[in-house]
């Protein structure tokens, strides 16, 4: 029997892998996505972990998904509906609350209640942040140029970036550099005086990263989390109906419609390299699959150190992969609740049913949690970012019952005294529950089921090295043309016919589908096929 040879094998059915496959299939390639789990989506997944409750076990909120892709792949037809958050309630250390209302006047009055100065300063803050976001957003669906290259395309792309940067005006060019390198806390100090306002605004600066609010570079992370949009509202966050799995399922639906194949329970143990070219994969079952190209949706470290033979790699690549900064820093606790919890300091429990909850505390509380992480511990007073999707979404919990997604910063990949154990994991979960209980007395009594995920679980289940949710830190040394490694930022990897399409590549983490789409564009260019990947679209143009 002649073994079937695919045009492309995509390793990993995360949302980027599926997107990549969908665009390759759309171009007429014969593609297969192989996934080690029996479910798809990677970190963008919905799973029924307790009867009647469907959790978004890992990622829980959507704001970066490129709407050009959403529209182009017809994801709505494949079942995807995104509902924007209305706002988030932030809880301070002292029990005070700050609600981020969607209505401009209401938001102004709420800020004014804390500080009239900050209510005014917020206008300037938002304009500045929008300006910074606008520049970086333009790069999302583009391939980063190689600044050391003299090829026309690289020079053209570099000029594009230069032109966008120049268009900021001289003053803003300097401001941009300053913003890009500073800490979230320092950046906010330029604008605000109220502790809770600063804490609430800075929390996006630490989500998913092994940096603290006082670490230089965290201002950019903040931007990374607010540069997405839902229907043109830049910075808005949204929920996918049916959980984050709905996104992956819709992309998979589009891919299959274009003729792509999906195989679950098909973990890859080895990428086959023949004559210096990637030529297929060996599955954990021993089965071999052959293809013209191989695309890895896994992170850079896992790709090069786990499923590649070191001797197949050019010198230095293995070391680069080993040194790739991919630090786990986040935990996730999913809780099934018998009723909607009630929170203190929040008259009438408002907004719990239409937005998120940020247990932000204060800058110092968040930074001290980071200090714990550095020492291989979790904080008893962690930063928790929560949402109760069941309050809007009738499909994720039984009527009248709820599920609460809790994202925790920070949670170390390994503990100071050794690896995670089930006991330690549960103690970590308990610390989170204890924190919420402080703001919502009686919360514990509502718990029906709980799923605690430390970086260890994230790595074991969905294969994120160290449980890093971005597949690699978003610091300057690993952004744009440095991502994942300098010289390999254009999705082509050091082995011929091998590509990467996960969040380890530009533009990085978040459910944006941009990495997968960008990689597809490069692959199709190499195969001299017509491009199927759409250009991005913006509301501010």
């Amino acid at each position: 029997m002649v073994m079937k040879k695919y045009d492309a094998i995509i390793i990993g059915a995360g949302h980027n892998g599926l997107t990549n496959a969908a665009y390759l299939a759309k171009a007429g390639l014969d593609v297969v996505v192989v996934e080690k789990n029996d479910y798809i989506g990677g970190a963008s997944t919905s799973r029924e972990m307790h009867e009647g409750w469907v959790y978004s076990s890992a990622s829980y909120v959507c704001s970066m998904l490129r709407q050009a892709i959403h529209r182009d792949l017809n994801l709505t037809k494949h079942g995807l509906i995104l509902v924007p958050y209305l706002g988030t309630v932030n809880f301070g250390d002292d029990g005070s609350t700050l609600v981020d209302y969607p209505n401009e006047e209401a938001a102004y009055l709420e800020l004014k209640r804390h500080s009239p100065h900050d209510a005014d300063a917020m206008h300037r803050f938002q304009a500045d942040l929008a300006r910074y976001a606008q520049f970086i957003r333009k790069t999302l669906l583009r391939t980063p140029p190689d600044p050391t290259s003299l090829r026309p395309r690289d020079i053209r792309e570099l000029m594009f970036l230069g032109k966008q940067f120049w268009a900021l005006g001289e003053k803003e060019m300097y401001e941009y550099v300053r913003f890009f390198t500073m800490s979230a806390a320092d950046f906010l100090e330029d604008y605000f005086e109220n502790g809770l306002v600063k804490a609430a605004m800075s929390s996006a600066g630490i989500i998913g990263t092994a940096l603290g609010v006082f670490s230089p570079g965290s201002a950019y992370i903040l931007l990374h989390h607010v540069m997405g949009d839902v229907d043109g509202n830049i910075g808005a966050w949204g929920l996918a109906r049916g959980g984050m799995g709905a996104i992956s399922n819709a992309i998979a639906g589009a891919m299959q419609e274009h003729g792509g194949e999906l195989r679950t329970n098909a973990g890859v143990s080895q990428v086959l390299v023949k004559n210096g070219k990637a030529s297929g994969v060996v599955l954990e079952s021993g089965e071999e699959l052959y293809s013209g190209i191989v695309v890895s949706n896994l992170d850079a470290k896992r790709t090069f150190t786990k499923i590649m033979d070191r001797k197949d790699l050019p010198p230095g690549i293995f070391e680069k992969a080993e040194q790739f900064k991919i630090r786990g820093s986040s935990g996730k606790v999913n809780i099934a609740l018998s009723a909607l919890p009630k929170f203190k300091g929040l008259p009438d429990n408002r907004y719990i049913d239409r937005g998120g909850q940020g247990f932000t505390g204060s800058l110092e509380t968040m930074e001290r949690a980071y200090d714990c992480w550095k020492r291989g511990r979790w904080s008893d007073d962690p930063f928790v970012e929560s949402v109760i999707p069941s309050a809007w979404d009738p499909t994720v919990a039984p009527p009248g019952k709820h599920w609460m997604s809790n994202f925790i910063q920070y949670c170390p990949p390994t503990l100071a005294d050794g690896p995670w154990t089930p006991g330690e994991r549960d103690r970590f979960g308990q610390a989170v529950v204890d924190k919420i209980e402080r703001y919502s007395p009686g919360f514990k009594d509502l718990i029906v089921h709980m799923e605690v995920r430390t970086p260890h679980e994230l790595e074991q289940e969905i294969g994120l090295t160290e449980g890093n949710i971005f597949q690699g830190e978003l610091t300057i040394d690993q952004l744009l043309f440095n991502r994942p490694f300098p010289g390999y930022a254009q999705y082509r990897m050091p082995v011929k016919n091998l590509y990467m399409c996960g969040s380890s590549t530009h533009p990085g983490g978040g459910v944006s589908a941009a990495c997968g789409a960008n990689a597809a564009r490069e692959i199709l260019m190499d195969l001299k096929r017509p491009n199927t990947v759409p250009e991005d679209d913006f509301y501010d143009e």
Partner: protein, 507 residues
């Protein structure tokens, strides 16, 4: 009334360098210094009868050009192109010694990796070196010369070659810790190599973005030497060029008056009420002191003022001086000398910093020690010695404020740390003093007690130092120039800001 071409505020090393260049170009120059003698933070001061030490205790990367231009050697500056050995102290006596491009006291792997690492870093440092002695133009290029400067920077980077250029662009923003972890295993070696990227800053090994640039800056000088002889030589060179230097003369404020319809700096008023006129005032004081205390905000723009206000100027380093009745003995160290660093591993620095970010002193301070009396016997009586240490971290804004008991307790903590490496030292101490950043602020007039005047960081470097409206040595206030460590390229005993400011004024 006397009228000068330029009045220079402050006779620190940058003020003297600037004065010497201006005077050599024929300007009538007056340097005004609050203290009794020139030198600023580099001036030797007697902290105990017979015992002297400067706050800035070493000259590590002084540019050859300034030495040659000003003939500093003929004025007594003893230069050496060989740097002092750097010793990473180990409590058990297994010290790590860095000297002459080699390292000892580490495993073979590290010893082999070290020269390669240093060579690569040196290539990066060499690429940047020409630009420390140049004004970095504004980003909005308006003339050919500016375009050439940027062109040259681009060219220098390209000439590194593809691999080096890529690596350079990757590591410039890397936290010191990652850079060291990528290259080395030995904990002391790593923390010693971090040191020059962090010392003086509100930074720790895990902080991204701002550590590598200072590291490269400190690798790009030509000469080492003694602060004392440097200051004497600069003083002599400036005087010989015709610059007049008045010490014990505090400037109360810069005279800002209307000239051709706009406000301009036209001289200074001294603390005693005397007014001295000049075409321009060149301040080697830090930006906040210059703009807020001396010039006054009325004559400045609002956003500019607030950007200066937001400069990161808080110092985190305390200065320890010990008068010793003999040479201290460090466990396992045959020959005391060079630059000794107490930081057993990078997290020791990181955790010391963790306390400081919340406004507390480090419980386990880390430090850099030299014994200046080894090289300059005039600093201590015969057979006795001075130990000088930069101790981190001691925040300028200590929670609840600094007082004598807090200063004393941090001093004892620092001495305890040294005693773990030099067990007999307590018995040798004749006198000890600790200068907190607050003391440095009040004694030397440096805002925040920050010896770089303002943090040396990517966003406060190059054409953004101290901030973009004042980065070419001129300021938004006509007639007022900056020439101190708050300008490009930055702090340490280096002199480039003074050199560049003089060239900008003469242009």
């Amino acid at each position: 009334m006397e009228h000068y071409d330029s009045i220079i505020i402050g006779a620190g090393h940058n003020g003297l360098v600037c004065a010497a260049y201006l005077a050599r170009a024929g300007q009538k120059v007056l340097v005004l210094e609050t203290a009794d003698k020139p030198g600023g933070l580099a001036a030797s001061r007697e902290f105990h009868a017979g015992f002297k030490a400067p706050v800035a205790h070493s000259v590590n990367h002084f540019p050859k050009k300034i030495v040659t231009d000003l003939g500093l050697e003929s004025h007594g500056f003893g230069t050496s192109s060989e740097s002092l050995p750097t010793i990473g102290l180990s409590e058990e006596g297994h010290h790590v010694v860095l000297q002459g491009g080699a390292v000892t006291g580490v495993e073979a792997g590290d010893a082999a990796a070290y020269p390669d690492f240093m060579k690569q870093m040196q290539r990066f440092a060499d690429a940047l070196k020409p630009f420390w002695l140049k004004t970095i133009p504004r980003a909005a290029i308006t003339n050919l010369a500016d375009m050439m400067t940027f062109g040259r920077i681009g060219l220098k980077l390209r000439m590194l070659g593809k691999e080096d250029m890529r690596e350079f662009m990757r590591i410039t923003a890397l936290p010191a810790r990652d850079l060291m972890d990528e290259n080395f295993d030995h904990p002391i070696l790593k923390s010693v190599l971090c040191w020059d990227g962090l010392i003086g800053s509100k930074m720790a090994p895990r902080s991204p973005n701002h550590a590598v640039l200072p590291l490269l800056y400190r690798m790009s000088g030509d000469y080492c030497g003694d602060p004392g002889s440097l200051i004497e030589a600069l003083h002599a060179a400036a005087s010989a060029s015709g610059a007049k230097i008045r010490t014990a003369t505090a400037v109360e404020r810069i005279l800002v008056r209307t000239k051709d319809g706009v406000l301009a700096a036209q001289g200074v008023e001294l603390a005693n009420g005397e007014k001295i006129e000049a075409d321009r005032v060149v301040s080697s004081a830090d930006p906040q002191t210059t703009f807020f205390s001396l010039a006054g905000v009325e004559s400045l723009e609002i956003e500019f003022t607030n950007r200066i206000r937001r400069l990161r100027c808080d110092g985190y380093v305390a200065k320890l001086h010990l008068a010793l009745n003999g040479l201290p003995e460090f466990t396992g160290l045959d020959q005391v000398g060079g630059r000794m660093i107490i930081a057993p591993h990078m997290d020791a620095i990181e955790f010391a910093y963790d306390e400081a970010k919340y406004g507390e002193c480090s419980n386990e301070p880390v430090m850099e020690i030299v014994i200046p009396s080894l090289r300059d016997s005039s600093l201590a009586p015969q057979g006795q010695h001075v130990l000088s240490a930069h101790v981190m971290y001691a925040p300028r804004r200590l929670k609840g404020g600094w007082d004598d008991s807090k200063r004393e307790s941090f001093r004892e903590r620092a001495i305890d740390a040294i005693a773990r490496y030099a067990p007999g030292i307590r018995g040798q101490i004749i006198h000890s003093e600790l200068l907190t950043p607050k003391d440095l602020e009040s004694d030397f007039g440096v805002t925040g007690g920050h010896w770089h005047h303002t943090e040396f960081a990517l966003d406060q470097a190059l054409m953004m130092r101290p901030t973009y409206q004042a980065a070419q040595y001129s300021t938004p206030l006509p007639g007022l120039y900056l020439c101190g460590a708050g300008c490009h390229p930055g702090g340490d005993l280096n002199g480039s800001p003074g050199h560049n400011a003089a060239h900008e004024i003469l242009r």
